[in-house]
C-alpha cells in the first residue's frame, strides 16, 4: 500500500530519457502551469499531461492522485468564492457575519476558484508524471555532485524505509499476540500502547544504523578524497526533447509578455479567445511540449525510429 507510488522500471521510452533532459522538461511544465492564468491554456496543459500519464502506463496512479486532489479543489473553490468580493456578477447574497461583513458569491469568483482548482489538478498530474518517469536514483545521483552528504543520507534513508515498515508490521503482530490490542481503549490508552511498539522499533533501527556505519567504514567511507560514480547516456532523443522544451518555454515567455496566456477575472471575466494568435501560440507551445509524447509513440511503433533516436 505504501509502495504503490514508488518508481517502477517498466522499460518505457519516457523513462529512458536522461534525467537532466526529463527534469528540464518537467520544470518547463511547472513554470507554465504556475504562470498561466488563462483557463484555456491550463486546460491544454492538463490534456497533454493526461496523455503523458497514460503513455507512462500510470492510469491507476493518476486517477488516485486526482481523486485525492478533488477534496482540495472543492476547498479552494469554496474559499475563493466566499472571500472574493471583486466579481461584479453576484449570484448569491448571504447574511452578514460579524467582523467579516456580508457573505456573497459572485460568478467571477466561482470561475476563478474553478480555474485555481484546474491549476491544482495540472500540478497533480505533473507530479504524478514525475513519479512515474523519474527514478529517485537518477535524480539523486544527478544531485550527488552538489551535496554529497545530504544526498547519500537521503539515499540511505530511502533504502532503509522499507526495512522500517516491514519491521513495524512484524513487531505489531508480535505485540498483538503478547496481548496488546491496538484497537481498544481510549485515545490516551492507545497512544500508550504504541509506545512499546515504538520503543522496540526505534532501538532496533538505531542498532541497525550502527551496523550500517560499520560496513561503510569497512568500505573506506570518509578515508579521503572521493570520486562519483555516475553514468547516464545522452542520446539524440534527449537533445530533441530538451530543444522542444526550451523552444516551448521561450515562445511561452514571449507570448506572456505580449499578453497571451494572461487573463483577468475581475471585475468581469475576459473572453476566453481574444484572437487567433491566442490559439496559435498555445498550439505551438503544446507542439514543443508534446515532442516526447510523439517520440514515445513513434518509438513503440517503428523500429526504424527506435534505432535513430
Amino acid at each position: 500500500m505504501w509502495e504503490k507510488l514508488f518508481y517502477r522500471e517498466k522499460g518505457l521510452f519516457l523513462q529512458s530519457l536522461h534525467p537532466a533532459a526529463m527534469l528540464a522538461y518537467l520544470l518547463v511544465f511547472l513554470l507554465l502551469c504556475l504562470l498561466y492564468e488563462n483557463p484555456l491554456y491550463l486546460l491544454a496543459l492538463f490534456f497533454l499531461l493526461a496523455l503523458l500519464n497514460l503513455e507512462a502506463e500510470g492510469r491507476e496512479a493518476w486517477e488516485g492522485f486526482l481523486k485525492g486532489g478533488l477534496l482540495l479543489v472543492v476547498l479552494i473553490m469554496v474559499v475563493n468564492s466566499l472571500v472574493i468580493r471583486a466579481g461584479s456578477t453576484v449570484i448569491w447574497s448571504g447574511p452578514a457575519v460579524p467582523l467579516w461583513g456580508k457573505l456573497q458569491v459572485s460568478l467571477e469568483a466561482l470561475y476563478y476558484g474553478a480555474t485555481s482548482g484546474l491549476r491544482f489538478l495540472v500540478l497533480l498530474s505533473l507530479f504524478c508524471l514525475y513519479n512515474l518517469v523519474v527514478s529517485p536514483d537518477k535524480l539523486l545521483s544527478l544531485l550527488a555532485g552538489f551535496a554529497y552528504y545530504s544526498v547519500l543520507a537521503v539515499v540511505l534513508a530511502t533504502r532503509f524505509f522499507p526495512v522500517v515498515v516491514r519491521n513495524l508490521l512484524r513487531i505489531k503482530e508480535v505485540q498483538e499476540l503478547r496481548g496488546v490490542d491496538f484497537n481498544q481503549g481510549t485515545l490516551w490508552e492507545r497512544v500508550q500502547k504504541y509506545s512499546s511498539l515504538y520503543g522496540v522499533l526505534l532501538l532496533s533501527s538505531l542498532e541497525d544504523a550502527m551496523g550500517i556505519a560499520e560496513s561503510m567504514q569497512a568500505r573506506a567511507f570518509g578515508s579521503g578524497k572521493r570520486t562519483l560514480y555516475r553514468h547516464h547516456l545522452w542520446r539524440p532523443r534527449d537533445t530533441i526533447c530538451l530543444a522542444g522544451s526550451l523552444g516551448a518555454f521561450s515562445l511561452a515567455l514571449w507570448g506572456w509578455f505580449h499578453g497571451y496566456g494572461r487573463y483577468e477575472f475581475y471585475p468581469e471575466a475576459d473572453v476566453l479567445i481574444k484572437d487567433a494568435a491566442t490559439v496559435g501560440i498555445l498550439l505551438l507551445v503544446c507542439l514543443g511540449l508534446s515532442l516526447p509524447l510523439l517520440l514515445s509513440k513513434g518509438w513503440k511503433r517503428w523500429p526504424f525510429l527506435r534505432s535513430k533516436i
Binding site: A153, V154, S205
Partner: protein, 208 residues
C-alpha cells in the same frame, strides 16, 4: 494580476530547500556513524509519517521525534532529519509541488529543537511537549502560506485567515497527536537518542 505569486512562492521553496540541503551536505565532513544514524532516523520518521495507525485517528508519531532529534543532536542534524522526512516518504507516497515547503517546515521543526537546547539546556519533557503542540499549528500555518499563495486570490490577510481556518481541523489533530505522543513517548525517546548520541563519539582507544 501581473505578479504570479504562486510561481514565486513555489520556486522560492525549491530554491531555499536546495540551497539548505547543499549547504548542509557541503560543510565539514561526517563520520559514518553520524551519517548512518541520521539517515536511519529520517527513514524512521518517514515511515511513521507514511504508515499511520488508522486506529489512532491518523495521528502521526513523527513530529515530536524530529523535535527531540534536534534537541539531542543539535539544530543541524534536526534540520536534516526533518527535511528528509517528507522527501523520503514522498518517494513512496508521491512527490508533489508541496514537497519543498513541507521539507522547509519540517526542517524548521528539527532546527527549533536545537534552538530549544541552546536556550534551555536542561529542558524537560514538559517544555518539549508544549513546543510540539505549538508546532502542530505552526506547521499548518506555514503550509497554508504556500496553499494561499498558489490557489487563493486576492492575497489579503483576510483570505489567508480563511485558508488557515479551513485547515484548522487538520492542524488541531496534528497538534493533539504531537501533544499526546510527546507526552507519552518523549522521555523514553530522549533516553534512547541520548544513548546513541554518546555511542556516536568514537571511544578513546587505550593500550594495555
Amino acid at each position: 494580476m501581473a505578479v504570479s505569486w504562486g510561481l514565486w512562492s513555489t520556486l522560492l521553496g525549491f530554491l531555499a530547500v536546495c540551497l539548505l540541503m547543499v549547504g548542509w551536505g557541503r560543510r565539514g565532513s561526517m563520520t559514518s556513524k553520524q551519517l548512518s544514524l541520521l539517515a536511519v532516523l529520517a527513514a524512521f520518521c518517514a515511515a511513521g509519517r507514511a504508515v499511520t495507525g488508522v486506529g489512532l485517528l491518523f495521528l502521526q508519531p513523527t513530529m515530536f521525534l524530529v523535535e527531540i532529534t534536534g534537541f539531542v543532536f543539535g539544530a543541524r542534524a534536526g534540520f536534516f532529519v526533518g527535511a528528509a522526512t517528507p522527501l523520503v516518504s514522498n518517494f513512496f507516497m508521491g512527490q508533489g509541488p508541496w514537497t519543498p515547503w513541507q521539507m522547509l517546515s519540517w526542517g524548521l521543526v528539527g532546527a527549533s529543537g536545537g534552538l530549544l537546547k541552546v536556550l534551555f539546556p536542561r529542558a524537560g519533557n514538559g517544555l518539549l511537549t508544549v513546543a510540539c503542540f505549538c508546532w502542530g499549528y505552526l506547521y499548518g500555518a506555514l503550509m497554508d502560506l504556500w496553499h494561499w499563495s498558489v490557489f487563493v486570490r486576492p492575497l489579503t490577510l483576510k483570505t489567508y485567515f480563511l485558508t488557515w481556518l479551513a485547515g484548522f481541523g487538520f492542524d488541531s489533530l496534528r497538534a493533539l497527536g504531537n501533544l499526546l505522543f510527546c507526552a507519552a513517548l518523549g522521555q523514553q525517546t530522549k533516553k534512547i537518542l541520548e544513548y546513541f548520541h554518546r555511542k556516536m563519539v568514537v571511544e578513546y582507544v587505550e593500550g594495555l
